[in-house]
Amino acid sequence: MVDEALLRSLTPAVLGILVRRGADFAAAEDAVQDALVEAVRVWPDDPPRDPKGWLVTAAWRKFLDATRAEKARRRREDLVDAEPEPGPAPTSDDTLQLYFLCAHPSLTPSSAVALTLRAVGGLTTRQIAQAYLVPEATMAQRISRAKKTVSDVRFDQPGDVATVLRVLYLVFNEGYSGDVDLAAEAIRLTRQLAAVVDHPEVAGLLALMLLHHARRASRTVGGSLVPLAQQDRGKWDTRMIAEGVGVLQAALARDRLGEFQAQAAIAALHADAPVAEETDWVQIVEWYDELLALTDSPVVRLNRAVAVGEADGPRAGLKALAELDDSLPRHSAVSAYLHERDGDLRTAARLYAEAAEKATNLAEREYLTRQAARLNN
């Protein structure tokens, strides 16, 4: 068996070296993929002493072969004939540059996600296609177009960490659960990013992911959603929570608060409560206020209304909710919950049914339908 985790962790460094040696990004990326495939084939019988060196050599050879074939067709420049310069030693900067390139603002979110998973994550096109339930040919086109889009971007051009974080957040939060565990992959990529760039929001996102991932085993039972308050907290991964809290505390200590740190702080307060009733809702409301100061989003206001409902009672929550546009996603679900807590079961049942109709995923629809049914019976 090949240590796939090791292979994939070497991907960005190997790709960085090829690009530094003068290979263009798109061709280098293809060559690295080919080298990964060869490694999976060859390594079980003939494990290399220096896996990274092996991959660099194999990828560079693949790149030369491809370029030669290309050259034979189109008579291209002499890059090929020159012996490869050893090139500058790869640095962690190369990995960071790859993240920037794959999350370049000229890419659409879905292209940035696909390119990041392949070029930085080392996943195959087929794996990515399966993870997003699209045909492999479609994903191949998406990736090849994405590469074309960034082909003129200079590799050493500085990028914005925030765009990278948005891409990683998407990978974590919106993947299907297929053969590839996208949430775990997002954590791995965020960890790797945190190792090469010193930025409190990178740490904030990593903490946020860890704190949510730690609850994964308790989030569904038999495919049905279990709300936070009813989750079996004994199933929470306490080591992962401890790691998330540690990462978060170190980030907060630097006093450069950002959106992800604030979200992680809220997740940490939930994780901290041994039973739902002991949740420190007052502090959670304060964190929502911080979050609102950073990003005035209607979704945050909606979640804040839930927290207010817990901290100050359902009436206060409903009052906070009344200030919000009722066409917001999940507005009726929140309203149903607060009405139920306030004892107005008829209104709650009606609102749960309404919320079920508006749900954007099946698990939520079933959960909300069940709530309406529970109150109607």
């Binding site: 659409t108 979110p109 879905s110 292209s111 996600v113 696909a114 997003y132 339930l133 699209v134 045909p135 040919a137 479609t138 994903m139 191949a140 086109q141 998406r142 990736i143 177009r145 998407l170 974590f172 939060n173 919106e174 993947g175 299907y176 659960s177 949430a183 946020l208 949510h212 991932h213 994964r216 989030r219 959603l225 936070l228 979200q263 809220i266 997740a267 939930h270 979640n303 839930v306 749900a359 954007t360 995923n361 099946l362 698990a363 939520e364 629809r365």
Partner: protein, 135 residues
Amino acid sequence: MAKYLLLKHYRGAPEPVNNVPMDQWSPDEITAHIDYMNAFADKLKTTGEFVDGQALAQEGAWVRYDGEGRPPVTDGPFAETKDLIAGWMVIDVDSYERAVELAGELSAAPGKDGKPIHEWLEVRPFYGTPPTITE
């Protein structure tokens, strides 16, 4: 990153602007129409937004369970059925706006006299996956 179904109807959609049945077009007009549909699908394949596309025959039957140990009951086809699906395309796009834009483009397929049919297409979102981070 959301999937949408673009649904084409034989019957049941509001009337299109250029509403001449296909059997009254010239063969070239039919060819032009089919070419347009194929080119549209090909374009979506190159943009990485294509998931699936199928056309359905007009005939079909209704089928239902008829109790333990009994064969299913079939009935129909019902000529009077109001809604009749002609085919679909499934796309995977970044936004609802993009889905609407593409449906609009598909609806511009040429019909009689080479003019766009302005056919009404139904755009339906797929259910996605529950997000992990909700609070």
